[in-house]
Symmetry: C2
Subunit: 436 residues, 2 copies
């Protein structure tokens, strides 16, 4: 069969990994795909580096538009990133009838509906396995492997940087700022880590997972996004004492009345497998009505793990290129005319258990006041921990784990508790999921 | 688009689950697949039960051959099991140009090459996601999701019965025979549990994984198969003290000179995620050269988890039915003319670390003799544990963990150690994998 000619846009970390793995495993990949998959042209703003990496084995250009307009290119691999020129290039490639493979979660989370509609119109595929959880084939699992199920929820550690930081904070008892510096030194966090530590990257990925799990349009602007920058080491410690680990989870949950889509630090029972995913590793737990809970674990970033997903998409695209578009796996798992308008719910409507830490005066009646406030909001208490105040300290911490309730109930209780004169400063609230 | 008409052979546990899930999630599945998937006829030796389960919503027969010969049936789902009539039915369905979905690992492990060749010849698909690890989409991950990789090895807990028994033995410190009875009482083990506890079922699945991971023909007869019936509670305890858990793993490893294909109780470092897979759950760890280690976890058996895999295959088959057969995912991941004759190695050539327990006289020089024997076989020692003999006991246990070596070296050392007068009875040998 004819080889597949690939135009590669961007030969940085992931682009370089894709080139290397395709070259190293060329024979093995062709034995699977039934045809060779060749990168015939590479566009990069640094052509000298591109030439060095590819050793003169393919065409090099600094004009990415020349690649998407090249009639000999069958598939465009977009690894430039961002919302700017990447969007123009992807749309131009589609307009030219080319299939696209991309790792660009930001682009798809923000402009995915427009891009998939354009691809649908032209009968081409935009594949994005590498956009979520790097080398873990989670898009394929959700879209195809679990196609029999009503997906109830998916919850994932889908940002390696923040998981590395949380693991280090717990292991070494160090504060966030210090561990962040260490992560930057080791290359686990970027010079500007905002997208990672503020939860934006995880929210991009959770947004894509919610769409393919539940058959709804992509709605990144409706996601609740809370990062780990305000997380204190003391809460990691208290959580540990209560039998929980704190992970930054991207959560998508389907309810009758809507979809919860949220990213925030989350207490998870320490005995769950996902609570034991450490360092920069990723894992996604998916609950389907038929299959029950399934977990997918692996490297969520890095040159070759991400390349693994990019190339798997290339093989898929090569196979489906000759297929009637109506018979291909739909971009968002469900047929385009079968998406639903189930709303994304505001965070106040989300149902979670809560971890509350209150700084209180050490005097009689305080606990009675607080538990009364919770009871008035119909919030029941699952566990409580009161630190023994040190001699003459006069203040202490009370930690309360609540049962599941609507977030607005917890909000109201927090506001009332903060109004008590015996409660000092703000109440620290974290969310807790049992993931059962 | 036209609905897909399915003929279901066998409406027992998995067949019943398949019927139920297809009915319950009919709308959701059709929204994904782009067409309804309908079970139009069911064959079962107990037509009354079949009629009750299906509530008169489809045709019922006790003649499975009538179903595979029915021209209105597009896809046959074989859930009868075993090597006998199931083989005839599958081959007849293929001969009639029908696609087949099956959960029958025994049939495919033993007759898969013949069945896939027949399907290839007729241009139909035989899908078998449900044959390995139940609801976990591991076949799809290996065949498609990791298509970029040279797979180095796959190691899985792929039999829920034995994992349940091992979990209980460890938790409660009970002997095998007692826990087996409990498992039978709870329905986790069958009345005749031989296939499970002797490792045969796991070997069927490992054989299929080896083929699709490495591109070799199916060779169940070359697999090394050792179950858990001889495992003693004391070894689980000693392993724990050394930081390991014992799991029945199905292992397929690719080496330059051949493939290791083996099922046996295996010591695994307790901190690995897979070591913490408890009860009847399954998990498969796969190491690819690009992606690194990825893990897939979920329910490996049961009505609805297995149905989840059967129905995912039905959706895939529906999509690929209109596709030129050359463009479909090959049965064994690699194109049929691209399979290799890399041999399955005999167990003596396998490379593993070992756990050795020796019952010895408590007198000077014994340890020196044993370590000399190991050194003579070029086996180096990783860790050692010697139980303090009780007052007047005169004998004690020595436990040795070796570094990785060929199994024949360990065999030779064991034979020499057993010949020492100070060593009492047989040496207990278990294999150990670090899974890195």
């Amino acid at each position: 069969m004819n080889p597949v000619n690939v135009g590669l846009l961007g030969i940085g970390t992931v682009g370089g990994g894709t080139y290397t793995v395709l070259a190293r495993n060329a024979a093995e990949i062709a034995r699977r795909a039934g045809r060779p998959i060749n990168i015939t042209v590479v566009a990069d703003k640094n052509p000298a580096r591109a030439r060095e990496l590819t050793g003169g084995n393919c065409q090099i250009t600094d004009d990415a538009f020349a690649v998407v307009n090249d009639p000999t290119v069958d598939v465009v691999v977009e690894l430039i990133g961002g919302y700017g020129v990447a969007k123009e290039l992807v749309l131009q490639a589609i307009e030219n009838g080319k299939h696209v493979v991309t790792a660009n979660k930001a682009l798809l989370a923000v402009h995915g509906n427009e891009i998939f509609a354009a691809a649908q119109k032209k009968g081409v595929t935009v594949a994005f396995e590498a956009a979520v959880a790097g080398g873990i084939p989670i898009i394929k699992a959700l879209r195809e492997g679990l196609a029999a199920n009503r997906i109830e929820w998916a919850a994932g550690i889908i940002n390696g940087t923040t998981n590395f930081i949380l693991s280090e904070m717990r292991d070494k008892g160090l504060p966030f700022a210090e561990v962040l510096k260490e992560a930057q030194r080791l290359g686990y966090a970027e010079a500007d880590p905002t997208f990672d530590i503020e939860g934006v990257d995880a929210a991009h990925k959770a947004t894509l997972m919610a769409s393919i799990a539940f058959g709804i349009p992509i709605q990144f602007d409706k996601a609740y996004v809370e990062g780990i920058t305000k997380l204190e080491a003391i809460d990691i410690k208290y959580a540990e004492q209560l039998g929980y680990r704190i992970k930054l989870l991207g959560i998508a949950r389907q309810r009758e009345d809507g979809v919860e889509l949220r990213v925030h630090p989350t207490l998870v029972p320490a005995k769950r497998l996902i609570a034991n995913v450490e360092g920069a590793m990723n894992a996604v737990l998916v609950k389907g009505d038929a299959v029950g809970a399934t977990l997918y674990y692996g490297k969520g970033a890095g040159a070759e793990p991400t390349a693994s997903a990019v190339i798997a998409d290339l093989v898929d695209v090569a196979r489906s290129a000759a297929v009637d578009p109506d018979n291909r796996v739909p971009h968002l798992a469900f047929q385009p005319d079968q998406l639903r308008d189930l709303p994304i719910l505001p965070i106040a409507e989300a149902e979670t258990a809560a971890y509350l830490r209150l700084r209180v005066e050490d005097k009689p009646g305080v606990l009675a006041d607080i538990t009364r406030i919770l009871a008035d909001q119909s919030i029941s208490i699952d566990a409580m921990l009161q630190r023994e105040p040190e001699e003459g300290e006069g203040e202490t911490d009370i930690i309360i784990l609540t049962h599941r309730c609507k977030e607005k109930q917890t909000n109201a209780a927090i506001a009332k508790a903060e109004a008590l004169s015996a409660v000092k400063g703000k109440v620290t609230r974290l969310r807790l999921e049992t993931l059962q």
